[in-house]
Structures are given as C-alpha cells and as structure tokens.
C-alpha cells in the first residue's frame, strides 16, 4: 500500500471571481502515490506546480479540491492533523539559511521538535547526547549545536534541516528543491546523505527538483509535471531510456544540451 497518496489535487491561487473568468489552476488534477521506502522525484519547469503539490502533502497549503491520504486515511492541513501524522511527514526547504531561525542555536532548533512531540524525545539518554548523535548522523560536527544559522554554510544549514526533520523519526521526507541552492559538490554530498538515511531509516522521500541530473542520482520513480498537470510517471530508468511524453523528451533534450555545452 502507498504511504502517501494524492488524489485529483486542484489548487488555484486566484480569487473566486478570477477563477470563474478562467484563470488556470496552479495544480490541476494531480494524482500520485509514494510507497514506503521509495523515493519519488517530481520534476518540471519553473511554475509547473511542484512546490504547491509538496506543500499540500505537508499540509501547509489547503487545496481547492482533491484529497491527501496518509496510510490510507485522508489528512487535512497541518494544524488539523493528529500528532503522529504530523510527526511522520517532515520537510526540507529550498533556502538553506532561511530554513533555520537565525536567532536560535542548532541545539534549541532540534530540541524544539522534542519539546513539541514528547513521544519522539529520547528517553534513555540526555537530549544533548541525542543531538550530538543526530548531528553526526547527518555528517556534522557535534560542536555545531551551539552555533546559529548565520554562521553556518548552506550545506551545513541543509544538514541541520535534515537533522531537525529526522529528530521526529518521520516516515516521509518532503524535499522541495533541497539541493538547488547548493553548489554541485555539496549537492552530491547531501544527495548521498539522503540516500544513506533512506536505507538506514526506512524513509520514503518526495523529492521536488527541476534538475534531471539530481533525479538520476536519487529517484526510484519520477513524476513529470507540466503547467499544473502530471504528464508522465515512470521508473527513473524507463524515463531516461524511453521518455513517453513529448514534454518529457523536451526536458531530457534540454538537460542533455546543458551537459554537452
């Protein structure tokens, strides 16, 4: 069974009157599913609605129509979700520095998750030990715990964001362009980190990106979005070998042009 399933999602940011005048939907009837242990990449050009789908899954955006099912049960916006569902879906954002409150230390950022979800807090040892281990798990020096976001590099911030998400032992990690703001060498470090965590923690990942190179490194399956619609879903291998939809072919050609140049 799918861990998370999205059915006929419709999101429109325009007012009701503008919608009646035929302003297009930002997301227009998207359905997709992520199985446990699977990494699904959502690709598409800028403005195709990828972020909006991710935010609906996370419950940060309320769709006009459609349902989000977690473990087969419909879930609403984040404030309405039961705590265990809320815990199970965490997100890593695009902007590394802005993902962390610049006035808070890494320690208090991670501790905030446990103060909110007592059931996820480490019971058998001190929080400081648990934070140190968590930071080591994401490839950071435990000394980072006392620092704040403005003194960290983009890659370090993103690792802290991942650590914050992992602190709640989630089952689905939504990554919205999580490596787009990083340079290429740091990108592949973070992607390797995610791939490793996925294996060790039974984590499903919904990975939003516009970069097909990233898709090739991390995804099991790929969903291609174009102007708010899903045009193709395929396994990563199939997609690169036999793109089905003309738009997918165009995306692949564009990516190849970039690599060749």
């Amino acid at each position: 069974m799918s861990l998370i399933e999205v059915r006929d999602l419709v999101v429109n940011f325009h007012s009701r009157r503008e919608r009646r005048r035929g302003r297009p939907n930002a997301v227009d009837g998207v359905s997709l599913a992520v199985r446990p242990d699977e990494t699904l990449a959502v690709v598409g050009e800028s403005g195709s609605g990828k972020t909006t789908v991710a935010r609906c899954v996370a419950g940060l955006q309320t769709p006009q129509a459609g349902t989000v099912l977690f473990d087969g049960a419909p879930v609403g916006r984040v404030a309405k979700r039961p705590p265990e569902v809320r815990r199970a879906i965490q997100m890593v954002f695009q902007d590394p520095a802005a993902s962390l409150n610049p006035r808070m230390t890494v320690r208090s950022i991670i501790a905030e998750t446990w103060r909110t979800h007592r059931s996820a807090a480490p019971a058998d040892r001190s929080w400081d030990d648990a934070i140190a281990e968590l930071l080591r798990d994401v490839g950071l020096d435990p000394g980072v715990a006392d620092r704040r976001a403005p003194s960290l590099s983009g890659g370090q911030c993103q690792r802290v964001s991942i650590a914050r998400a992992l602190a709640l032992r989630p089952r689905l990690l939504v990554c919205d362009e999580a490596v787009s703001a990083l340079d290429v060498s740091v990108q592949s470090q973070i992607l390797r980190l995610l791939a490793g965590l996925r294996a060790s923690r039974e984590l499903a990942i919904l990975f939003i990106t516009h970069d097909l190179g990233v898709v090739r490194q991390i995804a099991d399956r790929v969903a291609v979005m174009h102007q708010g619609r899903l045009v193709e879903t395929a396994t990563a291998d199939d997609l690169f070998e036999r793109p089905g939809h003309p738009y997918t072919r165009k995306l692949l050609d564009a990516a190849l042009d970039l690599e060749g140049a």
């Binding site: 404030a79 809320r86 965490q90 997100m91 954002f93 802005a98 006035r103 914050r164």
Partner: protein, 288 residues
C-alpha cells in the same frame, strides 16, 4: 537615491541623524531621566503650598526667608525649579506607561492579525482603520473629558489610539515573516501558534518596534502636556509641564519664565527623543 520615505516629523527642522547627534540625544535623554527619577527625591515640592509674598520672582531672586529661587517662582509663589523637576517625573512616567501599554497591545494584535490572516486580520485591520480616521489627540480629549482626572485615565486616553502605529508596523513585518521557511518548519512540527509567534516572529519584529517606541514616547509626552494644558489631563495635585505652561499664560509679558521654562524642557525632551528614535529606526528599522 534608493528610497523615498514619507514620514511625519515631530519637529520642523531637518537634523541629520548621525551617530554623533544620536549620542548627544541619548546623553540629553539620560539627563532628563536622572532629573525626573532622582530629582524629586532631592528637591521637595508641594503644589498646594503657596506664598503670596514670593509671587513672580525672576530667575535667581532671593525669597523672603532668604532662600534662593534658582529659576524664579510662579504666580502663586511656588518654586519653578521644583515644578520643572517634578514635571519631568510626571512626563517620564506617563510617557513610559503609554508606550508600554501601546507596545504590548499593538505588538499582540499586529502579530496576531498578520499571522492568523483571515477574519482575525479583517477585524483588527478594520479597527485600525476606524481609529486612524480620528485624530488621536481628539479621541484622547474626548476620553479624558468623560472621566475624572487622573493618571490612569490619561494613560488610557493616550493609549486608545496610540497602539495603532505599533499594530500596523507589527502586522506588516509579520506578513513577510510568516512565509519564511523557518516558520513553515515550526508549523510542520506542530509548534502551538502562540509559541510560533513568540519564538519565530516577535524576535524579528521587536527591533523596528522598539525604534517606533522611542518616537511614540515623544508623542505621548507632548500629548499629555497638551491635555494638562487644556485642564483635561492630570489633577492639580500632580505637577505637569502642560499645567505649568497654562498657569503662566497670563504673565507672558511680565513673568515669561513661568511658561518658557517648562516649554523649553518639553522641547528638549521631545526633540532629543525624536532624534534618538530616528537613529534607532535607521539602525533597527530594516532588521532581518
């Protein structure tokens, strides 16, 4: 020029707010604070103890009993120095109380409106619009006139419209802060809304709001003097510069010091506070 700022100023002269000017303003302000808070303990003054023999003594004159009236006396023979010092305390106490009330109310309502959006925002924003449609001082006059004279009434009368500026500022900043990813991350974790506002929004609002508080302090001091001048402010048992100015208006040609001294004291306080506020606005106004 990168930006054009349109802002009402409390004084007509344009003084550039350099660090030196700001430091000078801070020093002047510190002197006022010292005089207002320590002075009344050193210089006793009784507003009902009049002395006909010592009426209208000029600056530096000697009283009947041989003591020096350093800054002269008023039409009832009361010591001007004592009135200035005790008036300073009144101004500071009223100014701080009004600003504290306005800041607390404005910060709470402004961040709530900006963060919750929806009908909360509509309700609070309409209230702000309505209050902005009245001149604040007129509202204060009406409220002060409706109740008995007293410290609490004056503070409330000046706060009723005063919180609006804080709320508008806080709401605007919150609107841009609530879409920051760190706020989304907190919502995702399930951090309760009041905690999100206090921990993830307010620390980034408080800087500009503090700068505004300085400017509003000057406004509150000036308004209190205005109310007291009109006889709507504090009871005569409490010394207020506005009252002293009003007491002296019959003697403007013969005993100018009665109105002029508290007027100068008021001007000095308001201008230095305004200058410091300007500097703080520049430094903290565009904080992240």
């Amino acid at each position: 020029m990168s930006a054009i700022t349109v802002r009402t100023r409390l004084w007509p002269v344009r003084l550039r707010s350099t660090p030196a000017v700001a430091t000078a303003a801070a020093v002047v302000l510190a002197c006022y604070l010292l005089v207002g808070l320590v002075g009344p303990l050193l210089i006793p003054y009784d507003p009902v103890a009049t002395s006909v023999a010592d009426r209208l003594l000029p600056i530096g004159a000697v009283r009947q009993d041989g003591t020096l009236a350093l800054l002269g006396t008023d039409g009832a023979g009361r010591d001007m120095l004592g009135q200035l010092v005790h008036g300073a305390r009144t101004s500071i106490v009223i100014g701080v109380s009004v600003v504290a009330t306005c800041l607390a109310v404005g910060l709470a309502l402004g961040t709530l409106a900006g963060y919750l959006a929806g009908w909360t925002d509509v309700a609070i924003s309409r209230l702000i619009d309505v209050l902005m449609a009245f001149p604040g001082i007129l509202l204060a006059i009406v409220i002060a006139g409706l109740f008995d004279q007293g410290m609490l009434v004056v503070v409330l009368a000046l706060s009723v419209a005063g919180w609006v500026a804080f709320a508008r500022l806080a709401r605007g900043l919150t609107l841009s802060l609530r879409v920051r990813p760190w706020v989304d991350a907190a919502r995702l974790i399930g951090v309760p809304t009041p905690v999100v506002i206090v921990r993830h929004i307010i620390p980034f609002v408080i800087g500009p709001v503090t700068a505004l508080a300085t400017t509003e302090f000057a406004g509150a001091v000036l308004s209190e003097a205005g109310l007291s001048f009109l006889g709507l402010g504090l009871p005569s048992s409490t010394v207020s510069w506005g009252q002293v100015i009003a007491n002296g208006k019959d003697y403007l040609d013969t005993a100018w010091w009665i109105s002029a001294l508290p007027g100068l004291a008021l001007t000095g306080l308001v201008v230095s506070t305004g200058l410091l506020g300007d500097h703080l606005t520049q430094r903290l106004g565009s904080s992240r």
